[in-house]
Subunit: 283 residues, 2 copies
């Protein structure tokens, strides 16, 4: 039974409060979406969890033990980060070997299999990889290391559309075959919305949402129908955005819906997580 508990974490950099009294629990075998604007504090939180930096206040416990300078606990967590910690001239293959020393359950065969699927040449030097292939390399390490906690900071950064599709598929296969706790921090919210179970939203260093994705989505709804019918229905409502396809319009509305009041010809559907997010986090 693996669990992570973040207790009243505050982190200051000089005068600037990057994280302000954040408390949350991450349960075993769940996929979390960690969302927030640029500069909200997401990466700071992930750096604190993995003891790359120290909190100003509060503590982070994994299975009851504090993460600070605790190698045994840290080896239960894999952090796919924007930074590169690999020696300059290391090849992809050498990095896999190196990782398998720190993560004893690293699955080399699976990693090689993923390299093939993503057309990553294992003989290439890490420093010579493009932005997209650097993400692919790190993401394969994250999927293959077989630890209870996998933290993914912008896993699809620079990935083309085909590779992003493939990544989401492989992540779900990995999760169903070897369940683990996964935290995905991403700005491509709509693409990730289908695989996230709980949403964590940080705004200017404060935790503002920690709820199942359904609860967040229930704060609004989408309504579809002919352009004129949708416009007349949403006239007095708080519309977050709209898409039109042909003569049809789909408007995203904030607020709860009184079902009795839906005119004929209009259809109510799930709202768009990205549009709700933009609303919740706008400055």
């Amino acid at each position: 039974m693996s669990q992570m508990e973040i207790r009243s974490i505050t982190k200051k950099f000089g005068d600037m409060t990057a994280l302000d009294n954040i408390s949350l629990k991450l349960e075993e075998n769940k996929i979390y979406g960690l969302l927030g604007r640029n500069g909200a504090g997401k990466t700071t939180l992930l750096n604190l969890i993995t003891n790359r930096i120290f909190p100003t206040d509060g503590e982070i416990l994994v299975d009851g033990e504090n993460v600070i300078e605790n190698e045994r606990v840290l080896s239960k967590i894999y952090f796919m980060t924007e930074n590169n910690y690999y020696p300059e001239n290391m090849t992809v293959k050498q990095a896999f070997k190196w990782s398998s020393e720190f993560y004893p359950d690293f699955d080399s065969e699976y990693a090689a299999d993923l390299c093939e699927k993503f057309s990553l040449n294992i003989k290439q030097k890490i420093k010579s990889l493009s932005t997209g292939y650097t993400s692919i390399f790190k993401m394969i390490l994250a999927l293959a290391c077989n630890v209870p906690f996998v933290l993914l900071d912008e896993p699809v950064l620079g990935l083309d559309a085909n590779h992003r599709d493939l990544f989401y598929k492989e992540l779900l296969i990995n999760y169903s075959e070897k369940p683990k706790t996964i935290v995905i921090s991403t700005h491509l919210i709509e693409e990730a919305a289908d695989i996230i179970e709980d949403v964590i939203i940080i705004k200017s260093g404060k935790l503002i949402v920690k709820e199942p994705v359904e609860n967040v989505l229930s704060q609004g709804y989408a309504i579809t129908g002919s352009v004129s019918a949708v416009d007349s229905f949403t006239n007095d409502k708080n519309v977050l955005g709209a898409d039109t396809i042909g003569g049809l319009k789909c408007a995203y509305v904030l607020g709860s819906l009184i079902k009795a009041g839906i005119p004929d010809g209009l259809e109510v559907t799930k709202p768009d997580l990205q549009k709700l997010f933009i609303h919740l986090t706008n400055r």
Copy 2:
């Protein structure tokens, strides 16, 4: 009258042919989308245009002059690249000052205005910026330098959804007030589809598409209606993908449409550029 001509460009790295006999013209005051899979050769092409690397064969002319070691020609081009060429400890403000020396028409007031809109602190050191804010910093430089050619390599890398929206808006304002030739290389195709005029697609080092976006989109169509009606209509067709909202389905179909054959209740609309791209570039 500014024009760029890429003539039979081939670039090899050792045994590997990164670009294979590419020829294309970039016209004045047009927005191009440079699309391709990870590793297709997009960044190599941009590096060749800006003389960061040398072609194995062929030449690139700007207003009739070869770009190679030609400072006068190169000062007409701004390249927003993934790499950082700024001294380690430089602040955003200092970088603006530095840029205005190389680009005499650099608009400092406009740059400061954009910093405010994107909440970028001009006193921050460039190296301390997050991935998202590094993109914002470079994008502001690109918009403010006032040159005839602006090349944007993944301009929205790491930007949150709100900032991506703001970027597309500011880019269009900039383009309408001070027209220029803009090349956007991006993997977030659907978001950029509305601002691109011509699409350039490179596949494994070869130019496979260079056409107005409408021509590319005319290779397919989308059809919307009830799930059952759409399914029965697309049964014998090449479906690239589909979205459903409520009881409605929108399927993306490859091929041309015989208008006479559309059953009642179905509506034909513009297809999705990203889905067509995935189809055109799949290995």
